[in-house]
Each structure stands twice: as C-alpha cells, then as structure tokens.
Amino acid sequence: MAEISLYDIAHARTGDKGNHANISLIAYREEDYPLLVEQVTPEVVSAHFGARHPSAVRRYLLPHLSAMNFVLDNVLDGGVNDSLNLDMHGKSLSFHLLTLNVQRT
C-alpha cells in the first residue's frame, strides 16, 4: 500500500453554475480509474471541501473517458454575483481536489 496524491494520477477542471461548482476528475491512465471510483467517493470529496460546507455532493461516472464529474452544491458563497471570495467562480477548487490522497496497492 502506498499513499499517493490524486495530483499524481489525475487531472481536473472546475466550472460554476450559480452557487454550485462542478469539478471533473480524469485519470491520466485508464488502469487508475477503478481506484478513483473506489476511493474518491462523494463522501470523501464532501469532507475534503469541508471548509466550504457543501450541502450535497453528487458524483457522475464516465467510464469511457476514465472520468468522473462532481457537483458540489452551495459551495460558492452565493456564486459569482454574491460571493466575497477573490475566486468567486471557484475555479481554483480543481487543484484543491487533486491534493486528496488515495491508497494504491
């Protein structure tokens, strides 16, 4: 078992709609995708973004793309029209997701 950072095996991009952020998580190599499916669950992601208090996190799987899409509800302090955050779109959140650690056997 080795602990590795998601950053080593996957890339990600954030988009915003209103007060919700979506973050894609895409495995560089197809063989790492099952590990993402198993370990990067909505619960884990919700806890990882605890400082932003998501009201819900949904995960959608895209196996043909070795990708998944997370939707984090109400994490943008009201979103682009209301937030006081410098990054009001939450665009930098994708790289925060990549700081999550997973176990590889």
Binding site: H11, R13, S24, A51, H64, N81, L84
Partner: protein, 446 residues
C-alpha cells in the same frame, strides 16, 4: 456532402481580439464550407450591457465588437464564411448598425446581417411574463433585465436566408455552432442525436482556447507548447453530429484527449442530461480519441427530445461590493496583518460582515465566514497581504469601509504598504423556466 468546419474567435467578452485571425486563415486554407463563431456573453456580461444601454441607448453590445471583427471581416465576406456571434448582447440592432459602419470604413460591400430577436424580456410585457414565473423574490424596484436563452434554429434560418453575419443577444452558447450545422446539414428539430453531437461540439468551442490548451497548462505535468500564442479551436462537424476538434494552424496550444475531456465536462452537471434549448444531450457514453496531431474526435453523444421550456435569467440591482488590500513584510508580518484584521473588525464589523483573506497564507479555499483563517495558527510568513471585502445594499457604508481601510496607512500596524481599494455595483439573478411558445423568436435582416 462536404464537411462543415466551424472556428471559434472568442470565448468570452474580453477575449483576445487577435485570436480569430489564424482561425480564419486556417479555414480559408483548408477550403470547404466554414463558419466562425464568437461567444461573448457570460451570465453577468449581458446584465452589465443592459445597464450601459440604459445610460447610452446606442450602446449595450459587445464593447470589443469592432476590434474583434475588423481584422477578419473582409476575409470572411470574401470567402463566404458566415460569422455568428452573441455580441449583440443587450442591443443586437446597435451591434448590427456598428458592423454596417465597419464594413463601410473597410470599403466592403454592405454585409447581409440578420438579427435574432426575442430573447430580451426586459420591457413591460416581458417583465410581466417573467414575474408570473418568479412569484418569489421579483423586486420591481431593483429589476434590471431578463433574457431567455434562445436556441439554434433561428440562427440556422438566418443562414439559410443568406445571412453573412448573424447577430444575437442571449442564445445558448453551443447554439452558435449548432446553428450553422443545422443550416448546412438540413437537420430537423427532431434529429436528436445529430443535434446533441453538434451541441457538444459547440460546448467544446464556446470557451475559445479552453479546449486547445488554455486553462490547462501545469508546468512539468501538463505542458502546453506556445501558450503565449495559443491557437483557437476549429471543429469539423460530420453529418451524424460527431466532430473532430483541432485548432488554427501555425499557433501554439494543444488539442489532445486530456484537453477535450476537461472541456467536455466543464460547467456540466448531469452528463446524461446537458440541457439546451435545442436538445437534451447525453455524454455519459461519449468517447474521445486522438486521430492526428492536435486532432481529437468526439463521438457517441446521444440526444433526447428538447424540453418544453426555455431558461430565463432575470437580473436585479445587487448592491455594492467593496474590497481593499494592504501588505506586510519581514519578521512577524502575518501577526501584523492579523492585527490590522482585528482593527478593521472592531471599527467596521458592526456595520456589515467582513471577509478577511491573508494572501500568501489563505485567500481562496476558506468560505466568506472566515472559519478556515480563524482556525489557522499564525505562521512565520514574511510576505503577507491582507484583503478585506464586504457587500452592502447601499453605497455609503462601502465607502466608509474603504476609508477605514485606507486609514490603515497611518493608523494601523507597523510597516503596512500598498493600500488599494475598489468598489463596484453588483447584480443578482433569479432563474426560471418559461414555456417556449410564450417566447417567440424572430429573425430580422438589417
């Protein structure tokens, strides 16, 4: 039938105005039927343009319109490449007039310009309709504008009737590409798979360089050659709606499976139901493959019948945002920045909630309540910039906040420097769905 190629010249209002030049050159060099799209309207951009139009009735369209079109208008007209843009914003007629003038200045024949209308629901009649669908929270006193997201079929109609330039206000961004695809392939409104495929091609192109190496580079991890000259994308659309995404010749940037996957999922929620006015696209079984250098094929997109409603966004005066910053350096810098925070909280906290950030320590990941920063121990950082931000319905308290921040020059902790303060008016929005038959769209030639 020859394959249609659609290039993208802009991905938002404020995008590079020289981006379209290599795109048009490439479309001409490749030959074959082609179109050029400009996406200039983020959600808020349109509301800002409504405010500008109120003050200056001849304005309210994309401010960079002339700079965008000047370098490529002659080439596009001479080579039969129609231009489709939502640069009409809050004043599509005004934009059309400006393009007529530009063509005159350039010594070109008067272009055949079509304006798509019907999205603007800001007049009394439109407002009443929107209000019916927004019984909660519709504040007449603060109302700024409302616009519906129109689809691709009016754009297609304009092109079929010979438009060289199609000016729109609010349309769904992917419809800017789908319109010319419908016109070229004569798709019907129920060709769901083809409509969905081309919709996702439009989605890939709508943010300009974001599919061709922009918003992607991470040195040593995801390297992008020539990012300073990133090429804007071109999609070849096939009769079944599948596409190959590439980019302008002789430019930097990168189109590979990684860039395409990132952009495919950008701003998507449920991948099985990406809803536009034209179709409900399903990318859950979609596939991408590299088919050449900087060429990626997207296929397997499914389409489902379009919804009976159109999305409408109504905008309201959202009060004022004020923010200011001051820097501290050297020994104990963070402690001094935190003392400045404390001063601001004690002097202004009773007027409004304040957000504090320590740039260099924590400025992005925490929430507006500041729970993250409060919980962090003070570090030995030697280069820290305090940011204070707040919002208020009235301007005067925001002015007071900025005065107080400025007063940290002399009355705050030691060695504070580089004070900058700024304020701006905000807009808030409410979304609703309105039956599409209540929002008729029309095409008018100028």
């Amino acid at each position: 039938m020859q394959t249609l190629a659609v290039g993208c010249g802009a991905g938002f209002s404020g995008d590079r105005v020289d981006a379209a030049i290599p795109v048009v050159k490439t479309l001409i060099a490749r030959g074959g039927p082609a179109a050029l799209m400009f996406e200039n309207l983020a959600e808020r951009t349109l509301a800002h343009q409504h405010l500008i139009r109120r003050a200056h009735p001849s304005l309210g369209y994309e401010p960079l319109l002339e700079q965008e079109l000047r370098p490529i208008l002659a080439d596009c007209m001479q080579h039969g490449i129609p231009i489709i843009g939502n640069f009409g914003a809050a004043n599509p007629q005004g934009a059309a007039q400006r393009i007529v003038q530009l063509a005159e200045q350039l010594g070109l024949p008067k272009p055949r310009i079509a304006v798509v209308q019907g999205d603007d629901l800001s007049n009394a009649q439109g407002r009443a309709l929107v209000k019916q669908h927004l019984p909660e929270g519709f504040d007449d006193a603060r109302f700024v504008c409302a616009n519906a997201y129109l689809g691709a079929f009016e754009i297609a109609q304009a092109l079929k009737e010979g438009a060289q330039i199609v000016v729109t206000g609010r349309v769904a961004d992917p419809s800017l590409l789908l319109g010319p695809a419908i016109a070229h392939y004569q798709w019907r409104a129920t060709d769901w798979d083809a409509l969905a495929g081309a919709t996702m091609a439009g989605h890939l192109l709508e943010c300009g360089a974001q599919v061709s190496g922009g918003y992607f580079a991470d040195p040593g991890k995801k390297d992008v050659p020539g990012l300073d000259n990133v090429g804007f994308p071109i999609a070849e659309i096939f009769p079944d709606g599948s596409c190959v995404v590439s980019k302008a010749d002789d430019t930097g940037g990168l189109v590979d499976c990684r860039t395409v996957k990132e952009q495919l999922l950008y701003e998507v929620h449920d991948p099985a139901a990406y809803i536009t006015p034209d179709v409900v696209a399903d990318i859950s079984q979609a596939r991408v493959e590299q088919v050449g250098a900087n060429r990626v094929r997207l296929h397997g997109v499914k389409g489902h019948p379009r919804t009976a409603t159109l999305k409408v966004l109504a905008y309201f005066d959202g009060g004022w945002l004020g923010e200011g910053e001051i820097s501290y350096a050297g020994p104990n810098a963070e402690a001094r920045a935190r003392l400045a925070m404390d001063v601001m909280q004690k002097r202004m906290g009773r007027h409004m909630p304040l957000r504090f950030d320590l740039i260099g320590i924590s400025s992005i990941l925490g929430d507006d309540q500041g729970r993250m920063l409060t919980g962090m121990p003070t570090t030995r950082a030697t280069d820290v910039r305090l940011r204070v931000a707040a919002k208020h319905a009235q301007r005067a308290p925001i002015d007071l906040l900025l005065q107080e921040l400025t007063a940290l020059w002399t009355g705050g902790p030691a060695g504070g420097g580089g004070v900058r303060v700024a304020k701006r008016q905000r807009l808030s929005n409410l979304a609703c769905l309105i039956p599409r038959e209540q929002i008729p769209a029309t095409v008018q030639f100028v």
